[in-house]
């Protein structure tokens, strides 16, 4: 771990308290996350989908309408994707911004199809990560997401991956799985996994690929 050890030591009481509340039962954890959601909503965390994000001053394609992710969630993924995808993202700044923006749009589109039950679970997780108090105490990420470095994002992911607390492992899987699937599953990045796509001879022969 490469986060600040002195800060971590002073926060250990918080961390232990939260750890206990998580350890009780899965249900306890769920209720706790529910509380965070309510608190985050009251304290001004944006809880409505971002809709069409203006292209001016952002990296998003304004033609895409967000149906689930909020502007806070978008910032969360802008901070996490460089750590989750790592060297898979292009280095050239404009291409990199586009790759991150497109992946976040596909994450949003995917979550839309998850339906209400899993959307509710993800809302709790994202609120927990976006709400300052829980971001610091539970995720132990000290800066707000736009200021988090890739190293810090990676350290956070590693903490949740290696944690002995199942709920954190579950959070790690949720964040990385939706990101990995939205990134590696997209045609533009198939080459990173050496996947040539559907066989061309079949595409050429099948009626559903012919222009109507």
């Amino acid at each position: 771990m490469n986060d600040q050890p002195e800060v971590r030591s002073t926060s250990s009481d918080f961390a232990n308290l939260d750890r206990r509340s998580f350890l009780k039962t899965g249900l306890g954890g769920a209720i706790f996350l529910g509380t965070v959601s309510a608190t985050a909503g009251l304290s001004g965390c944006s809880s409505t989908p971002a809709g069409r994000v203006s292209a001016v001053g952002t990296r998003m394609d304004a033609s895409y309408e967000f149906r689930f992710l909020t502007s806070d969630d978008i910032q969360l993924f802008e901070a996490l994707l460089p750590a989750i995808i790592g060297p898979g993202l292009p280095e050239q700044p404009q291409a990199r911004r586009m790759a991150i923006a497109g992946t976040i749009e596909r994450i949003d589109a995917g979550i839309h199809n998850f339906g209400p039950a899993n959307q509710k679970e993800l809302r709790r997780l994202f609120d927990l990560l976006n709400f300052g108090l829980t971001r610091v105490t539970i995720a132990r990420v000290w800066s707000s997401w736009p200021k988090v470095t890739t190293e810090e994002a990676d350290a956070f992911l590693e903490r949740w991956r290696t944690s002995g607390i199942g709920l954190f492992n579950n959070g790690y899987i949720a964040l990385t799985k939706i990101s990995n699937v939205a990134f590696y599953g997209y045609e533009d990045f198939w080459h990173l996994s050496g996947y040539p796509g559907p066989p061309k001879w079949a595409v050429d022969a099948l009626p559903q690929f012919q222009n109507a």
Partner: protein, 530 residues
């Protein structure tokens, strides 16, 4: 070449097919029988009843997708063809649930493996649940019939490299293996069964029994969610259903009331118990939703010296039952060994990781093999299965505790899979476990498996086979339906899907569902016409 599209032709010829999203006002429809679900069970039921001259309405929550929509693309297919956009998990999030949600149900997206119910399973059912009428000899004609209906035959083509690695490893170690029967006709051996067969080769419900029912005047309403079976005294009077908007996710507000003499629930082992629980169907012994089984799956991946291209070719063609019944039918849990196809989205979601580690792993995909173990749950007191419950919004969930009995089997399966992969020449092997590295020798892998914690979330677990929850049995105190799928307490309700299995099957369940549904529907048709 199977370029002639059965669905497009049928729609053109005037099949009665209604897209729920096009309904603008509430309506009431009536038929002899309402069948809820269009998968292996519902499709079979609808075809047999409709052919017998009964009027049938088929209800499907998912939408109608067919060849024009099947473009060999993972992201769009997972979003539209699978339950909860492929994000369905058990209550605690520890087990990923792969399940179809479209016309044809899971048979539209399965990997075509077509096994008879093992004799050992049928004999166990006879002995333990009083289901003597389902003994292997009695079931044989039904398996024969369905094998013909769905064109099931052992795969005659050479297995792809991914599957051949399982064969080679088993050969090296003296473990038995066999060729998998597949339900295909004129298969192009492409490898995209899981995202909707692009060539109309797969003979699932979508291209066999559902068209068979529609040819015989059945009415299919898709994009329609079955909310509640409404009782009038001791019989079901009607089904209350909600039309879904064109996105397939949001109810449009339009409701449909379906009246019938008889109702068949075939909405899957999660959907059917959910529907019965929502409906308050009489359940004096509290059996609905209990003993829910999933063939818990764990997995290993291997990097092979030669290219595997695990994304191409018939996804499943070789299996091993060496460890499935070796400990006796009700001894330590047995497991079936198979191979999954590996496309980029699926692989990157199944292999846990991020950053450098993940991209380095993904970069080796063309050289990657994977083996999966499917545990035969439900045959032992320490494997009582899970429970289907309802969320606040009425949607069903599966709560599936993993017992020590199952963890023991999962650990043994890790040993077996890694050993087989090394025996087949793997350069390195990684377990689907949060703590697993790549291991470059069987000795190292073995030492690691000795130590790895067998814990929820850390061990990556999956299920593609949902069974039980409305178990059949002779004794109404411990079952929901009798051996013909007839509800013990409600005379005009039958269950014709995998939810009636009193244990798991010990093999991919589609043929078990087809065969039992055919048998029980034939009886039901005679009963209703008498």
């Amino acid at each position: 070449m199977q370029l002639k599209d059965r669905i497009a032709q049928g729609l053109e010829s005037g099949w009665k097919v209604t897209d729920g999203a096009t309904l603008t006002e509430n309506r009431t429809l009536e038929a002899d029988v309402v069948v809820i679900g269009t998968g292996a069970g519902g499709g079979t039921t609808a075809e047999i009843l409709a052919k017998s001259g009964l009027s049938v309405i088929l209800v499907e929550e998912g939408r109608l997708y067919y060849q024009k929509d099947f473009k060999m693309d993972e992201l769009s297919a997972y979003a539209s063809l699978y339950q909860e956009g492929m994000s369905r998990v058990t209550k605690d999030g520890a087990i990923a649930i792969l399940q179809g949600r479209c016309v044809g149900g899971s048979t539209t997206v399965n990997w075509t493996s077509s096994f008879r119910t093992p004799d050992a399973t049928l004999n166990y059912w006879a002995e333990r649940f009083g289901l003597d009428a389902l003994a292997p000899d009695a079931m044989a004609p039904w398996f024969d019939g369905r094998e013909q209906r769905h064109n099931m035959e052992p795969w005659a083509v050479k297995p792809n490299v991914n599957n051949d690695i399982l064969r080679q490893g088993c050969d090296q170690l003296g473990y038995t293996w066999q060729v998998i029967p597949r339900n295909v006709k004129g298969c192009w051996n492409l490898g995209y069964c899981g995202v909707g067969c692009p060539t109309n080769a797969k003979q699932g419900a979508l291209l066999t029994t559902v068209p068979g029912a529609l040819d015989n005047d059945a009415h299919l309403i898709h994009g329609l969610r079955a909310d509640k079976l409404v009782m009038n005294q001791d019989r079901i009077d009607h089904l209350q259903a909600s039309a879904m908007a064109a996105d397939g996710i949001t109810p449009s507000g339009v409701t449909v009331t379906l009246k019938a003499r008889h109702f068949v629930a075939a909405a899957s082992a999660i959907g059917t118990p959910g529907l019965l629980l929502r409906s308050g169907i009489p359940d004096p012994h509290n059996r609905i939703g209990k003993r829910s089984f999933i063939h818990p799956v764990n997995a290993c991946v291997a990097e092979m010296p030669e290219k595997v291209e695990p994304f191409y070719g018939a996804p499943q063609s070789i299996y091993s039952d060496h460890f499935n019944f070796s400990g006796g039918v009700d001894g330590p849990v047995g497991y079936k060994l198979e191979v999954p196809p590996l496309h980029p989205a699926m692989s990157s979601g199944v292999i846990p990781g991020h950053g450098d580690t993940q991209i380095n792993t993904m970069a080796r995909l063309p050289w990657m093999n994977s083996v999966i173990a499917l545990l035969r749950d439900g045959f032992h007191p320490d494997s009582p299965g899970g429970t289907i419950g309802l969320r606040d919004d009425g949607s069903p969930y599966l709560d599936y505790p993993v017992t020590d009995y199952l963890w023991d089997g999962l650990r043994r399966a890790f040993y077996t899979m890694a050993e087989i992969q090394f025996a087949a020449g793997a350069k390195r092997v990684r377990l689907m476990h949060l703590d697993s590295d790549w291991y470059t020798s069987w000795t190292d892998a073995k030492a690691a498996i000795d130590q790895l914690p067998m814990e929820l979330h850390r061990v990556r677990l999956f299920t593609a086979h949902q069974m039980g929850g409305c178990g059949m049995g002779a004794n109404p105190e411990e079952s929901v339906v009798n051996g013909f799928g007839e509800h013990h307490h409600v005379s005009n309700l039958s269950v014709h899907d995998a939810s009636i299995f009193p244990t798991s099957i010990g093999a991919n369940p589609q043929l078990s569902v087809y065969a039992l549904s055919a048998r029980n529907s034939t009886r039901l048709a005679n009963r209703l016409k008498a």
